[in-house]
């Protein structure tokens, strides 16, 4: 097996991202002799599971019992906020760009309503030529569009602006997931109702007990907003808005109103409870920014990440996800020395508009301390900011829309933890 010299591309062990693509560098495989293996590897012990048939095909598949650590992190029920709260995706255990529906993050304001689709109605009214009521069966007849998008809660990563100690990729950043969403372009339904010239906003209301409502500018609603009916091929699940939700690609998750039951065309935003009591960005001078919709250009190293342990010196794969609410990911850089030097990561996946993009880079850990960071640049040229720059701009009264660079410290014992540098 040929061994090449490591091409260092940035400080503290980052290696050319192309090196492991066939250059024989990694040497992860244990070299063995054909005589040890025998012509057919017959001298390797045959494991028990190869010796007798296993169970056959089933009606509904599940994960391996060795993968039962793939669970969301859900908060405990809160008696003064019944059904409220969130669950977070186990980002440190996922790869690729799609999140399985069972592991997609949730955020509820009054729990999950148990909706019978045969009884559910969607009303479009307000400033329209003709108010309309749609049944679920009606809506299934429309042409749809299928696109892969990320969804992120505006509060994701907010704890870092408040100086949270410790934490994992999941606990700190797990309010982002990716899926193929299938639904009706909202413009189709609005055109049917006939939007009056004076309409400027839509007011979207959910059928949950919170009557969660958000105002969305008409321009977005006529652009790429969809009425989502399917997620990763199957009907949207109850935790995601069954039987239907609004979906505003790239915008803060709460605007993608779940269990959608009404869209009212209006001149002005409605100032729903949930867009005044929550989801405004209060600045240090106490002015509050409203309707700060797009999620920022962001990336995150998911492995190695908080509370992982590196078992020993050697070559590791640094991998993570990047996304932007304003376009596609053009570039991801990684630093192993806390931002002093940077190297371009390999892009492993498609780079769709407003979707998760997977990156990686090989890294040699020598046993010395290291601070791992990633930094995304999107198709608009926006570069992920540092925490200091966000704190200087926005302070910490509100911690929505935190898209700062995450720093993971690796100490001499290989323990990985969240740090601020």
């Amino acid at each position: 097996m040929k061994k090449q010299a490591l091409e260092r591309v940035a400080g503290n062990g980052l290696i050319n991202r192309r090196h492991l693509l066939g250059a024989g560098l990694a040497g992860m495989g244990m070299a063995v002799s054909n005589s040890v293996l025998g012509a057919d590897a017959g001298n390797l012990e045959i494991p028990g599971w190869s010796k007798q048939p296993g169970p056959g095909a089933s009606a509904y598949g599940g994960p391996s019992r060795h993968a039962d650590h793939l669970q969301r992190m859900a908060g405990a029920p809160n008696p003064i906020y019944p059904g409220g709260g969130a669950s977070r995706s186990p980002l440190q255990h996922l790869q690729g760009t799609i999140t399985p529906n069972s592991l997609h993050f949730e955020r509820h304001h009054a729990g999950i309503p148990d909706i019978d689709p045969a009884q559910h109605k969607l009303v479009i009214n307000g400033l329209v030529r003709q108010p309309l009521v749609f049944s679920y069966e009606d809506l299934l007849k429309y042409p749809m569009v299928s696109r892969v998008y990320f969804l992120e809660c505006s509060g994701n990563s907010g704890a870092l602006l408040r100086g949270a100690q410790g934490g994992t990729a999941q606990s700190l950043h797990g309010l982002v997931s990716g899926a193929e969403w299938t639904g009706i372009p909202l413009s189709t339904l609005l055109d049917e109702a006939g939007v009056l010239p004076e309409a400027r906003w839509i007011a979207a209301v959910g059928a949950d007990a919170a009557s969660m409502g958000r105002s969305v500018p008409l321009g977005k609603a006529l652009d790429d907003t969809m009425l989502a009916l399917f997620q990763n091929g199957e009907p949207v699940r109850p935790g995601q808005g069954y039987p239907m939700r609004l979906f505003n690609p790239g915008w803060e998750g709460n605007t993608s109103v779940k269990w959608l039951t009404q869209i009212k065309l209006t001149r002005e935003p409605v100032h729903f409870r949930d867009e005044t009591s929550k989801y405004t960005d209060t600045l240090p001078d106490r002015r509050s920014l409203q309707f700060t919709f797009p999620m920022g250009t962001k990336s995150l190293i998911t492995s190695p990440s908080g509370q992982m342990s590196l078992p020993g010196q050697g070559i590791y794969k640094v991998t993570g996800i990047a996304w932007s609410g304003s376009g596609s990911i053009r570039r991801v850089e990684v630093s192993a020395d806390g931002g002093r030097s940077w190297a371009d990561a390999l892009i492993e996946s498609n780079q769709f508009e407003k979707a998760l993009t997977r990156f990686s880079i090989p890294w040699e850990w020598t046993g010395a301390g290291a601070v791992l960071q990633s930094r995304a640049t999107d198709s608009a040229g926006d570069i992920q900011p540092t925490r200091d720059s966000i704190l200087a701009d926005k302070g910490t009264i509100s911690t929505y829309h935190n898209h700062c660079i995450q720093s993971w410290n690796v100490d001499g014992a290989g323990e990985v933890s969240n740090v601020y540098v």
Copy 2:
């Protein structure tokens, strides 16, 4: 609400695919007056699920109880073929292009082995400079690639060549699914082992009790074949080969050997039991074609489809999936008159290489009989054939690789059934 004249684009009710995209044609929504609705639709009855909080976030989500018909169709256990058999995806209930992992079709030759990834080994040997043994942990360190691909069993749709009566999209065609597969380009691992010049094939063997083995030409193995470790973001599930499988994009599914434990580089194909007793195409003159790998250019209307009932005259959405093992889908046409006239369908999804593509077209059912068909053309210009042309070419001794046009009959009562025209 404006109503336009229907633009007929082919016989027996097919309508311009752009019509429902905002032209106000569909009229699925019930027109109501603002006075009935009230300014806030307050006169619609508030359903019970909106009146009290529901359950909160959970660690692992599930589908709605109203979607419990989304199940695979699994054959009954067969005592003389323990663990053998298949389960079929509920294509008629899915939308978009991704199949949830729980609903992805399965095909097992000796059931599902219960593999401990910490004990599993992957051997690369044979005509290599240096035989290698990899652990699961080793392999997780490699750069990976994430791509959306279809997977189809070579026996899918075979019953139609044998003249099967009745059936559904699921029972007849459910051995095809779509997913984002993430894994290591196999070329990376082969380069590490060092392929000797005389090698022409790889022999891939699974760790199941069938020792399922397939020979794959080296050219494919060095092209887009991957060692797949993740499916739709999570570790490949036991039914799909946990902890790892081979994945040959576009090729018959059995070559994507599950529970992969050995890749041996060889001069010639091995002629494994499963590539001689099965998976050869025996022609009418009794010659058998071997190694007929790519799956043909194919499409299928998933709705309306067999055993569905149309509740009454009116406009329906005809939708389905198309795919090709040799490229991307360029065009899908639909006929409502048994192939006498055709209209272009709308493409609703991305059109990836070797992946499912979703199409639709609106159709007005007048209550008269109709035969619905779809016909795909791929990026190589290959057009999906008729059943008659496949029967003329290949006969019915073997029924693998059937990619013929499916005909769904709609009778005067709106009952949909599989027919041969």
